[in-house]
């Protein structure tokens, strides 16, 4: 007999980033269905769902409602860093845990959060290390004007200069804005060896399309290669053919063209991770997340989460979008997260030993 545990689902069913939220939600629900169908696990999940509608102010009250009134301890949700920061005080007050499965900019390690996707040493840094020897040292940075764009640029700048490269320009665009003329003119005249694109949504799709046009006009499909740490499979159809050729880094890329990608996969795995912790540990669902992790670690079970910083260890995959499908170019073995980027020497990659698949 399975014991039933109620878990929370806190994703926006409407709003600016609904596409990513729906992908994450589908991954969670798939994970729940798989756990419930697995006879080897003594736990099953039922889902309590709240919809913040993409409105930042709704996250904290809805999170509190689930923790206080619905008897939920573990919540799966949040796409943006700002929404995660909104719910953390509620998690602290009511002893909840958030299972967060979106790539983020790092510089956080809260005891109430399980960081199940990746942070810059698992996406951005390997991507720069891959790109500099291959494309050259002159780089343009473009990003959406909020914390993700700023911090990715800050880390990229430090990494690029440490590797002897040069940041030629560093530009930001308001979220949703597609007024890219100035940025594109600048890129045209600077002719960088590659571009790191941290734009999100429509800005990003428009940017990619116009770069593709510039390449077509110049008759050079190889020029101005674009790299991204936040572009996932879920956006391929929205971005259209303009995105073709771009390089992306992440822990997982879907083999089939219609796949949901890493956010769905990490959301699904997060549900399995919790089920694995709770299996054969009756009552463990009431433990604070740190104690639960410590218990499972003591039992010698395999954990994806680091018991100190509570970030998942992740393989690093670099893939190129070719004809609407991500093709794996390079894969590095699972790498521990370094959210504060303080293990710099240890996290640098042994470049000559890379296995290149192309």
């Amino acid at each position: 007999m399975k014991r039933n545990i109620e878990i929370g689902l806190l994703h926006s069913l409407s709003g600016d980033y609904v596409a990513l939220a729906m992908v994450a939600r589908a991954g969670i629900l798939r994970g729940v269905a798989e756990v419930n169908a697995d006879p080897t696990l003594d736990v099953g999940f039922s889902v309590v769902e709240r919809d913040p509608e993409g409105r930042l102010d709704r996250y904290a009250p809805l999170c509190r409602d689930m923790l206080q009134n619905a008897g939920v301890r573990h919540i799966f949700g949040c796409i943006t860093s700002s929404s995660r920061k909104e719910v953390i005080p509620e998690l602290e007050r009511f002893h909840g845990a958030l299972w967060y499965s979106t790539p983020y900019e790092g510089f956080e390690a809260n005891e109430h959060v399980a960081y199940m996707h990746s942070c810059p040493n698992q996406h951005l840094l390997p991507l720069v290390e891959f790109a500099m020897p291959r494309f050259g040292t002159g780089v343009c940075l473009v990003g959406s004007n909020y914390i993700w764009g700023w911090e990715i640029a800050q880390i990229a700048r430090e990494k690029i200069s440490a590797m002897g490269g040069q940041v030629l320009s560093d530009r930001y665009l308001p979220i949703g804005d597609t007024g890219l003329a100035q940025i594109l003119t600048e890129i045209q005249s600077l002719q960088p060896d590659f571009i790191i694109n941290s734009l999100i949504g429509e800005s990003s799709y428009s940017f990619l399309a116009q770069l593709a046009k510039m390449r077509a006009e110049a008759g050079n499909a190889e020029m101005l290669p674009v790299l991204s740490c936040n572009f996932t499979e879920g956006e391929i159809s929205a971005a259209g053919a303009g995105a073709d050729g771009m390089y992306a880094a992440g822990p997982f890329f879907e083999a089939s063209a219609d796949g949901h990608g890493s956010i769905a996969e990490m959301s699904r795995l997060a549900v399995h991770e919790l089920a694995g912790y709770l299996n054969a540990n009756p009552g463990a669902e009431m433990l604070p997340l740190t104690d639960l992790i410590a218990l499972v670690a003591k039992q010698g079970r395999a954990l994806r989460l680091d018991s100190e910083n509570q970030h998942a260890s992740q393989p690093v995959v670099i893939a190129q979008l070719r004809a609407g499908k991500f093709e794996e170019i390079l894969r590095l073995p699972a790498l521990a997260a370094d959210p504060y980027w303080t293990r710099r020497d240890r996290s640098s990659l042994p470049l000559p030993n890379l296995r290149v698949v192309s």
Binding site: E92, F107, A109, N110, E111, E158, E308, Y340, T342, R344
Partner: protein, 203 residues
């Protein structure tokens, strides 16, 4: 310009001067997570603490005899752990020279910010102190130059001639104008004491 450096925090050494208390656990945990080498100390900071990259200290119960340096003269960034916000305790915490602060009970929030802010303030304070020392030296040198010029003026030179003489003297001695002025003034005052003292050999 204020700079925030994110480098070199890995393996940085931090001392936490606070009596052992469960409320310190989140701070110690977060410092470990960030990647620092953390040492607890109470009641005394050991002498090796002078080599630390950061020192956190209890603003409630600590006192200056616990520190191996004078108040305000820490050789590293200091972060005050503030519980009581009473003005007397805060004044003491500031006298010790806090470069940043954290409020007790400390959570994981604010620790990384306190490290970077403390280091930035520490760097800025040191740069400002070095700048002030340099300016003071130059300011007092200006007075000496005026005195040296006056010596020549008293011997009947015009002001322009006196400046030119000072410049030539400095060139002949291969020293800065400030240095030459200082020597001239020193010799001049010893001349006044005894007439047969050695004279400055003017070019």
């Amino acid at each position: 310009m204020t700079r925030i450096r994110t480098d070199n925090l890995g393996e940085a050494k931090a001392f936490v001067l606070h009596r052992p208390h469960p409320s310190m656990q989140p701070l110690l945990r977060q410092l470990h997570v960030i990647g620092l080498d953390v040492h607890e100390a109470w009641p005394e900071l050991p002498a090796e603490a002078v080599m630390a990259d950061f020192v956190f200290y209890d603003a409630d119960m600590a006192h200056e005899e616990q520190f191996p340096w004078k108040p305000g003269a820490s050789p590293m960034p200091l972060i005050a752990l503030i519980g009581s916000e009473a003005p007397g305790r805060l004044r003491w915490a500031m006298t010790m020279g806090a470069h940043a602060q954290l409020l007790k009970p400390v959570s994981d929030k604010g620790v990384y910010a306190a490290l970077l802010v403390a280091r930035s303030n520490f760097d800025r304070t040191n740069e400002a102190a070095a700048h002030i020392t340099d300016l003071e030296a130059r300011l007092s040198a200006r007075q000496t130059i005026v005195q040296a010029v006056m010596i020549f003026v008293l011997r009947g030179k015009s002001q322009a001639e006196a400046y030119e003489l000072l410049r030539q003297t400095a060139m002949a001695w291969r020293v800065s104008i400030e240095e030459a002025a200082q020597r001239l003034v020193a010799n001049h005052s010893s001349e006044k004491v005894s007439d047969d003292s050695k004279r400055v050999d003017l070019p």
